[in-house]
Amino acid sequence: MKKRLLIPLLMIAVTGFLSAAGGQESASSEDGSVTLDVWAAKAAELQVDTASLANWKAVEEATGVKLNWSLISTEVKDEQFNLVMTSGDLPDVMAYYEGKSGFSSVNKFGIEGAFLPLEDLIRENAPNLKAALLDDPKVKEAITASDGNIYYIPMLSALNAARGWYIRYDWLEAVGKDVPTTTEELYDVLVAFKNEDPNGNGEADEIPMVFRRRGDDAFYNLGALAYAFDSDPGWIVRNGKVVFGPSEAQYLDYLNYIAKLYKEGLIDQEILTRAGNPRNDLFGKNLAGTIHDWFASTASLNDTLGDEIKGFNLRHMAPPVGTAKEPFTRIQMSKVRGDGGWAISYSNDDPVATIKMMDYLFSAEGSKLMNFGVEGETYEMKGSVPTYTDKITNNPDNGFHESLVTYGMQWKIGMQQEIEYEKQFANAIATAARIDYMDNYIVDEFPILSFTEDEQMIIDDKFSQIKLYTAEMTARAMVGAISPSDFKKTFDELNKMGLKEVTAIYQAAYDRKY
């Protein structure tokens, strides 16, 4: 009740303010050039002289659009954004994101009329944006608001690798084993980790394999072992046929394997109940040997623990292979970064010039300005590869990323991060892992399907039960509460719960799309 009242009130307030504030923005001068006020966030400790940014000058020359930046400290950006929104005095362009929840506020205020819907503007004026955002269904889906409109141009990442396997190379050396490539080799390594005291404290306290769960999903990371057996914890497509992974025979291979590891104490025995962050906790105590987790944050353990634990060397390894033909993973992330992008305000007088400027940043030329800056200053061409100069890689005042920002690059705006940037960026262990996974192991994930309302109703009813039942039985099989062969009965149970009907719905939705 309360909410239903609040939204119209807010809308009246926002649009009221907007009409009052309109007209004083985006001054077009007589030579046709346009000046736009831009609101963006920047780390407080970085000194940026917006008047002397060579790459943005180049953007101005190429597009005729001059940007008048107000850079807000990231520490206060949230309250500043809310203040700007309630004052109604919106700048022409706003680059606002909210950490974890990304652009939800921009979308919310967009729906209420504070930001322009961009899809038609893009189709008519911006070929590069159209190719990067609208023609890629995954990107388009990710940035579309609940009312079907697009309200912001996102920052796109070059890498789609998200999570993968890491193992202690120093422990491998201690037990005299090579990096495991098969599930059998992995088993041998884990047994050696458990019995041969690789942390050298004289106690058999090693936990060879640890995982983090996500919320109550215990198989968020552990489930990656299913790929070793050509199985999957979720939906997959086999020769155009949609199948639910846990209903296939090879799911039992995966269950047998994790049940064996669990029984012999090779998987963390308390995986289902461990509170906090078991990864940082157990690696920090020098107890853990291998993990499947996010690339960047896991690789950074080398930096944080390297001084404390002698020889600490945590590196990525290929997904292990069991009965699958080759190593692979379906885990990946969207190219859309949740922490960068910009939106065009309702009061912007020249949306066409604005979108054209934004489009330029996605052209080859503009993208280079955003990633590498100006040739001869912040980068040089080595062969065909733009390479950062000492101003970036060896700057006495700032680190690598900070230097880029002070020179006007890699701002949290709508742009495309290039792979060469990632390759030259600092944490080499994480980048090497991500590129290796991207080049060699990541296969297509199950597509995002859209269902009719009636289909959705059946999915909500039946599939939510199937999913819960599968998770429960998988967990019980792993800890030995039921034997994996008992799990076969689950197949019948799943069919009773309407798996066939749900599969048919997924198949129909898949066929509509492809």
Partner: protein, 305 residues
């Protein structure tokens, strides 16, 4: 005119009381009665963007889904059993605690004890659940460390379905007894001391005083608290269970409210969650009316209405 004056007398004479009533009324109207209109979404396929007026009607579809779900009997049994455990063990706990505190002569000790037993109430369930999981851990928990010292085997408590109801009830008792005891302590403080003096003169020992003076005096409070408690046994708040739950022990730990959480909040299936919530409320209403009728039959002056 004269009649009018008399009528308004209570309003004038007790206007502070009437004014103090206003916030309570506003609270109940705003947060309890107005939202009741929202239960109609249980009969709709509700979408927040279409609103109540724009969402299509589906009749009793969501009730059918709930009652025919393979989980229906399981969640109903778990909810009622956890509620029953709470009633049988959790309900007497604060009464016993209050009686014990009341019997203490040493003032400082009494105050310290009361504060210590009260404090857990103000600790968030997230923290309490974290502490409990740590204490029950097979590798690092104190309870298993103690068992191992005693020469017993260490038990992975949170991975065996049979322990869940007991663990959950014990945690609730430790956390809430101190707070619930306050109301009994207040009732105990209200007992006329001359009753004790008379009993003492008649030669009643302390256990006899407890039986014949103390308990009869607080019976009305106990009955009312019991009726309120019975109404709540079915509504176990989801986070208390969810924080202790894991996939292996779902067969004893999945309750109605966690099911509502999964479907309603995680899957954004508002209508289904509303339908199940409505069912939960209906059962609670039946339980309250039943226990009230029972109380009225037993002792007419201590029922709620």
């Amino acid at each position: 005119m004269a009649k009018q004056k008399i009528k308004n007398k209570s309003l004038v004479n007790h206007r502070e009381l009437w004014i103090m009533l206003i916030p309570v009324l506003v609270y109940f109207i705003l947060f309890k009665y107005l939202p009741m209109g929202g239960v109609v979404i249980a009969l709709q396929r509700y979408s927040p963007f279409k609103g109540i007026s724009g969402s299509p009607w589906v009749g009793l579809e969501y009730f059918r889904q709930f009652f025919t779900s393979i989980y229906f009997w399981r969640v109903l049994r778990n909810t009622l059993m956890i509620g029953l455990y709470d009633l049988v063990f959790g309900f007497p706990a604060p009464i016993i605690l209050a009686l014990l505190l009341n019997g203490l002569r040493q003032k400082t000790f009494k105050k310290v004890t009361q504060t210590v037993t009260l404090l857990p109430h103000f600790v968030s369930y997230v923290v309490v659940a974290g502490i409990a999981l740590n204490m029950l851990s097979p590798s690092t928990g104190v309870i298993n460390a103690f068992r191992v010292k005693m020469g017993l085997e260490s038990i992975y408590f949170m991975q065996e379905s049979k322990y869940f109801w007991g663990i959950f009830t014990i945690i609730r008792i430790i956390k809430e007894s101190g707070f619930a005891a306050i109301i009994y302590l207040a009732a105990l403080a209200g007992i006329d001391p001359t009753l004790y003096e008379a009993a003492h003169c008649d030669g009643a020992s302390r256990p006899q005083q407890l039986r014949h003076v103390t308990l009869p005096s607080i019976i009305p409070t106990i009955v009312i608290m019991f009726i309120i408690k019975v109404g709540k046994i079915i509504s176990i708040s989801f986070e208390q269970v969810l924080l202790l739950q894991n996939d292996v022990i779902l067969d004893t730990s999945e309750v109605i409210s966690t099911l509502v959480y999964r479907r309603g909040l995680v899957n954004a299936d508002y209508s289904y969650a509303t339908a199940v919530g409505l069912f939960e409320t209906f059962v609670a209403l039946v339980l309250v009316l039943g226990s009230n009728a029972l109380a009225r039959r037993m002792k007419s002056d201590s029922s709620l209405w």
